[in-house]
Symmetry: C2
């Protein structure tokens, strides 16, 4: 039986709670490690697709689709790591992030939608997937430029 | 549009290739970081469910279901990080792992199935989900005891 990925809307409802209080017995450090780990996993799948988009490795539609689907699943994950109190510690998140949680929520909603579009198109030609890959990439850069220390 | 998670069978076909050669321009270090990151994300969701199972926090069926689904998605991910050459470096994987890749494959197939069973049952009572959570946990312990340095 295949698991269902939560819809973006439901995920955000759940995550809204995560912003206000650490619901579980997770430490703030665990939350920071968690979200950073998810972003590390992002990079693996993103990088594999990027190598194909840039022509560094041959385009393989099945492999591209695999990575697009995994990336889409991962976009549902990091937001809940931004729990209350996790602005301190070993984090590259700028202070501005914590003053703009509505914007972070909106940006993740857009990222999920763009990642889903990419996953839906994956399997097509490289010319079909390239602009959708770029759309996903714009989300990463936009958020990092505004909210992540270099 | 919801992304589809690859079926276990298809994932394993894809991953079989990953065992024999680094398909993409990813370094061995990136592969090790990737699989370790996925396991870190495992622990977040697993820990959140474990806290409920052990009664450390109140059982919330919706939150439990969320974590079960995320864990299920994550079980599809780490295997591809065990690429050829990634037995060396900053890894806790024992040498025995690399001599038993068929067993690792089988163990991940079982983990995926057990995680899917948990995700399918999540939403039920704590007594319904507890044994399925334990079944997932047995996979972690079994693999760590055999293939992971303490």
């Amino acid at each position: 039986m295949k698991p269902k990925i939560l819809s973006g809307a439901l995920t955000l409802v759940l995550l809204a709670g995560s912003f206000t209080s650490p619901v579980f017995a997770d430490s703030v450090e665990d939350a920071i490690k968690y979200r950073q780990a998810v972003f590390t996993a992002f990079r693996w799948h993103f990088g594999a697709m990027g190598a194909m988009v840039r022509g560094k490795v041959d385009y393989d539609a099945q492999q591209f689709s695999h990575h697009a689907n995994q990336l889409s699943a991962l976009t549902r994950m990091p937001l809940e790591g931004f729990i209350d109190g996790s602005d301190m510690g070993d984090t590259a998140a700028k202070p501005e992030l914590w003053e703009n949680l509505d914007d972070i929520n909106s940006r993740f909603t857009q990222l999920m939608a763009d990642a889903d579009n990419l996953a839906a198109a994956a399997g097509g030609s490289i010319d079909e997937v390239r602009p959708l890959f770029s759309a996903v990439a714009k989300n990463c850069k936009g958020c990092h430029d505004k909210y992540k220390e270099d």
